[in-house]
């Protein structure tokens, strides 16, 4: 079995570009997993792509305003006599810390993993919610 030559050239090109984008002064190196963060008035939602990661192999912890994602992407198991033609999928352990703009109510953090996308619901801690300050007239 052969894979498409031009597709592979494009891929290589992408990789070379990625190397140059990681030079100092360029945008920050991408860590695994890549995340998006969404906000509303009272909570944040973090979404991350992690195809092939099983829920039991993923650990999410929240401490004050620091979210930590720890997990493992399992290797595609190879038996004797099998031939590997291409291996691009990332595998192994990963750990990422994400600093959030405020403290999280860690008792009400919820997470779900659907089609390889993680979604973590992060409600803002009650004591951190914005307060209105009344100005007294003297």
């Amino acid at each position: 079995m052969m894979w498409d030559f031009w597709s592979e050239m494009d891929k290589l090109h992408d990789r070379v570009n990625r190397v140059f984008h990681n030079l100092p002064g360029m945008p920050a190196r991408r860590e695994y997993p890549a995340v998006n963060i969404w906000r509303s008035e009272d909570r944040l939602v973090l979404t991350a792509e992690m195809p092939g990661v099983e829920a039991q192999d993923l650990d999410i912890s929240v401490e004050d305003n620091l979210l930590t994602l720890t997990g493992v992407r399992k290797t595609t198991e190879m038996k004797e006599g099998e031939t590997l033609h291409l291996r691009e999928r990332l595998q192994g352990e990963f750990k990422r810390h994400i600093e959030l703009p405020y403290r999280i109510d860690k008792d009400n953090v919820e997470a779900k993993l659907i089609n390889g996308i993680l979604q973590v619901n992060l409600p803002r801690s009650a004591e951190e919610k914005p307060r209105k300050i009344t100005v007294n007239v003297q």
Partner: protein, 127 residues
């Protein structure tokens, strides 16, 4: 947001055309089958299209990065994008019996190999 660069707001991404990337892929060959595993996060069986034209296999997946209801995007490292990749299959596989399963954002294609044709000896007659 401290330590996190704000890339672009949700409003500005709406005008950017969708990009298409090659999914990371593993290919393993066993005695009977060729296994192809491709990372397609956000893709389910409905948003995936696999076609075989002669020996050209094409995978196309439309990525729907779930937008949480009533939320505004404030930090982004991954944009909504589609997955597409083409593979040229060898002639020793049976393209009519390809099986495809998608689970946890990983596409698994099982491509059965055909049994190699028996070598035949051709006797040369003298005339």
């Amino acid at each position: 947001m401290a330590n996190l660069e704000k890339i672009r707001s949700e409003r500005s991404t709406a005008h950017i055309s969708r990009s298409v990337i090659h999914p990371d892929t593993d290919i393993i060959e066993t005695d009977n089958v060729v296994l192809l595993l491709a990372d397609v996060p956000g893709i389910d069986e409905k948003s995936l299209e696999i076609t075989v034209d002669k020996n050209l296999l094409t995978i196309y997946g439309k990525n729907e990065l779930g937008k949480p209801e009533g939320m505004e995007l404030c930090y982004a490292e991954c944009e909504p994008r589609d997955f597409q990749r083409m593979f040229t299959l060898g002639y020793n596989v049976d393209t009519n019996k390809i099986e495809a399963v998608v689970k946890n954002g990983v596409l698994r294609l099982t491509i059965p190999k055909t049994t190699p044709a028996q070598t035949r000896k051709i006797t040369v007659r003298a005339e």
